[in-house]
């Protein structure tokens, strides 16, 4: 019997992304996966999983074997859904290359850093009314608002329009809590942004939407052209879809982890120079997107075993981030940690387009929180965790501010 199937025995390690009892604290299971079944096969849901840092770093970048063209979400890969053209997060080269180059040109880290002051003002607007309150909620009061607000800034959506656009987009995307993601989310093509796009086309400015509408590029057939209206809408959808929930979860984890580590929180409050390191350590310790999935295009040998073409495979970034081979004492949270960085933003051509923006948001949010609320205690009873195959974090994160 080979190792991957052996792991199905009764006291063998078991993991799937759906069981709430595992999702609550997956790390002991991840440790066992790394030790006992570094190439894990789950029979019940028919997928493979890699859990060690080195394996993930080696294979995630191998896009010829591990394709994104059926999405990067386990359920969607299994359903073999149709993916609209332009949804570059779920495309392989050459299409991915063409589109990513277009957005990379307009989505530069510099443009992101230029948003810092606006992000700070936005945080202040969210947090100032709460000064003096006994309780705050890291999600409701900031995490649920800031990422969408920032995407609105990027796109140039005027303040007074932002809520309207957000509501329309949320309505198009709403699913019942606790249900697996459904296919309507995957095929969502930017409904809700059309009116704004048409208005912006007539009222150009210096925002991302204007730039996307004007940019010329060479498409996969070699033709130089502008993006179609549909392509722009899909891009906006990809950016908003990838940047909203993840960043909101980062803010929730910031509240949770620093609530659990008051000593380190006080050090950060006393020395804001520690903020960037703190955000990196939070991203390592609890990655908002704990796994990415791929479709296996051809038989591939990993750790002496063949993973057959046609399989689905999960890359467990959250496990890699705790791998002792890479991060000594990986299960402890330590903002003074030195050494190699986490793998929370992925690896390879699909690595996060918004990492610079997420970092700015995380750093500014933490800074503005600490200025107003240097101390807090998490209301554990009131905090609600949710976890799916692709994201994990808090739906509510209430805390007592003194």
């Amino acid at each position: 019997m080979d190792k991957a199937t052996e792991a199905q025995g009764s006291d063998a390690v078991y993991w799937d992304p759906y069981r709430p009892d595992i999702g609550e604290n997956p790390y002991p299971t991840f440790r066992r996966l790394r030790e006992e079944a570094p190439l894990y096969y789950n029979q019940a849901y028919d997928f493979y999983a890699l859990s060690r840092f080195a394996d993930i770093e080696t294979h995630l970048g191998d896009i010829e074997t591990f394709s994104s063209a059926r999405s990067d979400i386990l359920e969607f890969i299994k359903e073999d859904i149709d993916i609209p053209k332009g949804m570059f997060i779920w495309e392989d080269p050459p299409l991915h290359t063409v589109y990513r180059n277009v957005v990379a040109r307009v989505f530069t880290p510099k443009r992101m850093n230029d948003l810092e002051n606006q992000i700070r003002e936005y945080c202040a607007r969210c947090l100032d009314p709460l000064v003096g309150a006994e309780r705050i909620d890291f999600i409701a009061d900031l995490g649920a608002k800031l990422p969408g607000g920032v995407i609105g800034m990027l796109l140039g959506i005027p303040d007074e329009e932002r809520d309207v656009v957000r509501e329309r987009v949320e309505a198009a995307l709403r699913t019942e809590t606790g249900k697996p993601m459904d296919v309507s989310q995957a095929t969502y093509q930017g409904e809700g942004y059309e009116d704004y796009l048409d208005w912006r086309a007539k009222n150009p400015s210096d925002d991302l939407m204007t730039t996307l509408l004007g940019v010329e590029f060479k498409d996969e057939t070699g033709t130089t052209r502008k993006l179609t209206r549909e392509e722009v809408l899909i891009f906006v959808n990809v950016i908003a879809g990838a940047g909203n929930e993840t960043t909101s979860r980062l803010i929730g984890w910031t509240g949770k982890i620093l609530g659990d580590h008051p000593e380190q929180r006080r050090q950060i409050a006393a020395d804001p120079g520690l903020i960037p390191a703190a955000i990196e350590e939070i991203l390592r310790f609890e990655p908002p997107g704990p796994a990415v999935a791929r479709y296996v295009t051809k038989d591939v040998e990993i750790r002496g075993q063949t993973v057959p073409a046609g399989s689905a495979i999960l890359f467990l970034l959250a496990s890699a981030n705790r791998d002792e081979e890479r991060f000594p004492d990986g299960d402890s949270f330590n903002v003074h940690r030195e050494g190699p960085p986490h793998i929370t933003f992925g690896r390879g051509i699909h690595s996060c387009l918004g990492s610079a923006l997420a970092r700015v948001e995380g750093r500014v949010a933490l800074d503005e929180i600490l200025k107003r609320f240097p101390d807090w205690t998490v209301d554990t009873q009131g905090a609600k965790l949710s976890s799916s195959s692709s994201t994990r974090g808090w739906d509510t994160m209430p805390a007592y501010t003194r």
Partner: protein, 106 residues
């Protein structure tokens, strides 16, 4: 095989044999040189493979593309000998190349 020397910001020195045709970034991440991340895998997208090329080598490593110039503006502590190491292809002529790593990539 081409010998490349990476010096970490803390002074730690790695001499690594890299296959011609690979990039200076690959040579680092595949040999446990920790000061280079290479998040985007060499697609000139992430700027997490920043190095300082020893001035004696600057001309020999070749020029920068427009994409690299643009992205370089984003690195922490840009200097006149800054390069993105994924954009430097290892060739026999680079035998002995010396690069220093910045204090941080992000």
């Amino acid at each position: 095989m081409v010998d490349i020397t990476y010096i970490e910001s803390g002074g730690e020195k790695h001499v690594v044999d890299v296959d011609a045709g690979r990039s200076v970034m690959r040579g680092a991440v595949e040999n446990d040189v920790r000061g280079i991340i290479g998040e985007c895998g060499g697609s000139c997208l992430c700027a997490t493979c920043h190095v300082y090329v020893d001035p004696a080598w600057l001309e020999r490593v070749g020029g920068k593309s427009e994409a690299e110039e643009l992205l370089l503006e984003e690195v922490c502590d840009l200097q006149s000998n800054s390069r993105l190491s994924c954009q430097i292809k290892v060739t026999e002529e680079l035998e002995g190349l010396l690069v220093r790593l910045p204090e941080k990539q992000v």
